[in-house]
């Protein structure tokens, strides 16, 4: 017997698309963050924009909170719904509504999978640049909510640099249009404010994105180093040299060995302390010149060997190892915490030393695979979550790493978002006044706190300010 709420929502989307049995909810109780799980009250899967609006209006009438979810690949617990919250799964809104090669724009629904857009654009010589490691599964709606990054964001920018317009369903069911096809705003930059708001300002129902040309030439280099510090110094040297690689990624030995022991083996040298994966792209002559310049920089900073991908297949193999590194490390232990923090690029060598020291002190296996060119670290801690004492050590070690990144002038998250995972660290980064301002902005969009409640900002930070116009 469905609950009255389920019956209400089923009238909008059809019975098939409302789930509330315990067994059905299990799939939707977690995302890519292994340390948190939470069962939603029910799950609803609207099939189009009109159903989405009707569902949000119905929930608003009943004052029922909701959480938007794409593919559930998020790494900060942002799409977890607990308590009374309804989970709004958007994977059925998966149409590419328009693709205009001459304007280099595409308009998509939020459930379109990231890699599918590039697949659709490639026949026109175009691609969608932001490429999170989960791009074969994650949705563009989720990318917008989290302001997702990826290896190639070093040269091409993150999600926010590629969104020109949004249609947003506000938490009260009203519709708002932000931005324009060209990118110029019709007012203040509400597109920029919305991207990265982690589902707390409403749901994007249509997203207009920039497409970029597929580069003519690509050079992919793999360099290996005898120490992590030397690899970190090489990264700083490349950045300071003025070359902007398309991607500049680092993997340490633990990570390399995990990859090489998995089905994703890419031929990385397992005796290296760290490897760098550097990609240069552009016109053939320019990319070749940049590749030669990076080659010299790597040699000058102690690279033991440098190998260049010889053909597209070889390149794909080198990248597969990097992109599937998290999966490979999943084999090492039952659980894996993928951390996400940022430091100024010049601090990389020091912070990597510190992470190693934290790992030794807490007796933890910490491996590093990350966007070195952006200073965006991903220390990964392998553990068994069933061991409470071990989980506590993981938590403490994570906290120490985050604190060190903040002390170095960095941030608590570069691309995974705050969600529930990083909420407790927000007061370390922002003053009470700034956190209060964020709460007030949230209430501008969502006065009743119904869209993805409880995420990003610690509740105690939200007392002082009231958004204007809120009764």
């Amino acid at each position: 017997m469905p609950s009255p709420l389920a019956a209400d929502l089923a009238r909008i989307v059809g019975h098939r698309w409302v789930r509330e049995r315990h067994a059905e909810l299990a799939t939707f109780s977690g995302d890519g963050l292994p340390t948190h799980r939470s069962e939603p009250k029910l799950v609803v899967l609207p099939g189009d924009r009109e159903e989405l609006i009707a569902v949000i209006r119905a929930l608003h009438r009943l004052r029922v909170p909701f959480v938007a979810r794409g593919a559930g690949t998020g790494l900060s617990g942002g799409a977890l719904a607990g308590g009374d919250a309804v989970l709004l799964t958007l994977t059925r809104l998966d149409r590419i509504r328009a693709l205009d090669p001459s304007a280099r724009r595409a308009t998509v629904e939020p459930g379109v999978v990231n890699a599918r857009l590039s697949d659709a654009a490639r026949p026109f010589g175009l691609q969608y640049a932001p490429d999170p490691s989960s791009q074969s599964a994650c949705t563009l709606g989720g990318n917008v909510a989290e302001n997702a990054g990826g290896p190639h964001c070093l040269k091409y920018g993150v999600t926010t640099n590629h969104v020109t317009a949004l249609e947003v369903i506000l938490p009260d069911g009203n519709v708002a249009s932000f931005g324009s096809p060209q990118g110029e705003a019709w007012g203040p930059d509400l597109v920029g404010l919305f991207v990265g708001s982690e589902g707390m300002f409403g749901i994007a129902s249509a997203i207009t994105l920039r497409l970029v040309p597929v580069p003519e030439a690509i050079h992919t280099l793999l360099a290996d180093f005898a120490s992590v510090r030397a690899a970190g110094e090489a990264v700083s040297a490349i950045i300071a040299s003025g070359v902007i690689p398309a991607a500049l990624e680092m993997m340490d030995q633990a990570c390399v060995r995990a990859v090489e022991a998995s089905i994703y083996a890419a031929g990385y040298p397992t005796d290296a302390a760290a490897v760098l994966l550097v990609e240069l792209d552009g016109r053939p002559a320019a990319a070749a010149a940049e590749s030669a310049s990076v080659h010299r920089t790597l040699q000058g900073h102690g690279a033991r060997s440098i190998r260049e991908a010889t053909d597209p297949l070889d390149r794909a193999r080198l990248w597969q190892g990097r992109k599937k590194a998290f999966g490979a490390m999943g084999r090492i232990a039952r659980d894996l915490v993928v951390q996400d923090a940022v430091v100024p690029r010049s601090s990389l060598p020091d912070i990597l030393d510190l992470i190693a020291e934290v790992g030794r002190r807490h007796d933890l296996t910490i491996s590093n695979v990350f966007h070195a060119g952006d200073g965006n670290l991903h220390p990964n801690i392998s553990f068994d979550g069933r061991d409470a004492a071990l989980a506590e050590r993981v938590h403490r070690a994570s906290g120490e790493i985050v604190a060190a990144c903040i002390a170095a002038g960095g941030s608590i998250t570069g691309e995974h978002g705050v969600g529930v995972d990083k909420r407790e660290y927000m007061p370390l980064l922002f003053s009470p006044e700034t956190l209060s301002a964020m709460c007030a902005v949230r209430r501008v969009f969502d006065p009743l706190d119904t869209a993805n409640p409880g995420k990003v900002i610690p509740i105690h930070a939200c007392r002082e300010w009231r958004a204007g116009g809120v009764p």
Binding site: A103, Q182, G187, R283, A285, G469
Partner: protein
């Protein structure tokens, strides 16, 4: 009242940070975020209206107010890091000062906004005025990693950060970029920089307008990578024909390759400018938007450029127009009555092309607004954001205009 305000400001900040503007209006020139917060809290508590200003070289400093708060006292380059390609500056630092400092360290802020070189960085950010380099380096928002701003009731807010990648919390920085001071006074900025390119080459071609806009589209189709591809009307270049200038930056091999690709794609006859000539050309393009009392910015897609330029021609005049041939950013300067601005805005809006009133005397700003009427669902959001960041309505700024 003016003398009383002056005395209160002097008691608060000391005489060095207080003066009068040319019209005799009391002017506070705080030298820190905290000092700006003191001034704005006092203004809020007393119900004084505040006009925010930079150096007064772009937007006329003419909004009716009880006092002016200028960023000119905030003139320190706080830090510059070549290894991280990041700089932190106070909002009143002028672009030419910063450029000199960066050049000495081998770095570059790829921003060439319209106006004079002594524009404050805060003014460039608050008005989101991007110039020709938008083609290769993006808009102002792409260069601002974070900022400190002070709300209309004197709260100091730190948005974003100093690292190049950061998604902690909501992106409040974006609200300040192009917010025209409606959501706070910018006091400090964290900027993303680039290393100075090995080569920086400018090429110029000329021809009739439609021929050159078509060349721009051909360059896009051929995937030519330009730092800038700017089209200037005859009145701007003081020539009979329109001119199209391309700026190519990077390693020598890259510049040579793009240069060849540009020639092949456009079929134009390009002339390479000497360094001084190139500097003069880009300075001329930057000054053009100061030529009239009014400057408008329109955002079209490259396919819609001809139509947008026809519209300007028809309602206003060809006058001082500069156009990003690959970005679709159109800037017009001249003298225009409010009715004409509104007419262009309405027609452009029907084609999905936004028009921002970048620069105009107060009477026109008040009537037409920087943005005019908002799109579906946006007005109430902007109104509540204004109330949030300026609860007493302290800042005198005309975002919407009278018809909104």
């Amino acid at each position: 009242m003016s003398t009383a305000i002056l005395e209160r400001l002097t008691a608060l900040l000391g005489p060095a940070c207080v003066g009068r503007d040319p019209s005799g209006l009391p002017r506070a020139m705080p030298d820190s975020s905290d000092a700006a917060a003191l001034v704005l809290r006092l203004a809020h508590d007393e119900g004084w209206k505040v006009r925010l200003e930079g150096r007064g070289s772009w937007l006329p400093a003419d909004a009716p107010a009880d006092l002016a708060v200028s960023s000119r006292g905030l003139d320190q380059v706080v830090s510059v890091s070549p290894a991280d390609l990041v700089a932190t500056v106070q909002a009143g630092v002028t672009l030419d000062t910063l450029e000199r400092r960066l050049a000495a360290a081998g770095m570059w802020l790829p921003l060439d906004p319209p106006g004079r070189p002594d524009r404050s960085v805060g003014s460039i950010v608050a008005t989101a005025t991007t110039g020709p380099l938008r083609a290769g380096a993006g808009t102002v928002r792409d260069h601002v990693l974070g900022c400190t701003f002070v709300t209309g009731d004197g709260k100091v807010i730190q948005a974003g950060g100093r690292v190049v990648k950061n998604v902690a919390g909501y992106d409040l920085t974006k609200l300040q970029v192009g917010g025209f001071g409606g959501f706070g006074m910018l006091t400090e900025l964290h900027l993303r920089l680039r290393a100075r390119p090995e080569q920086d080459v400018t090429l110029v071609a000329h021809g009739d307008r439609d021929h050159l806009t078509r060349a721009g589209r051909s360059a896009i189709e051929a995937g030519v990578s330009v730092a800038a591809l700017e089209l200037c009307a005859p009145a701007v270049v003081a020539e009979r024909e329109w001119q199209l200038a391309a700026r190519l930056v990077g390693p020598a091999e890259g510049v040579a390759a793009e240069s060849a690709a540009l020639a092949a794609a456009t079929g134009l006859e390009w002339r390479t400018l000497a360094v001084e000539q190139a500097h003069a050309w880009w300075t001329m393009a930057a000054r053009a938007p100061l030529g009239g009392a009014v400057t408008l910015r329109l955002g079209a897609l490259p396919d819609g450029l001809d139509e947008t330029l026809d519209l300007l021609d028809e309602v206003l005049d060809t006058g001082l127009i500069t156009v990003g041939a690959t970005t679709g950013q159109v800037r017009w300067s001249g003298d225009a009555p409010a009715a004409a601005v509104k007419r262009v805005r309405a027609v452009a809006a029907s084609r999905e092309v936004p028009l921002t009133l970048e620069r105009a005397p107060w009477a026109l700003r008040r009537e037409a607004g920087h943005f005019g009427a908002y799109r579906e669902g946006v007005g109430p959001i902007v109104g509540r954001l204004r109330d949030t960041f300026d609860p007493g309505g302290t800042f005198v700024v005309a975002l919407e205009g009278e018809d909104a």
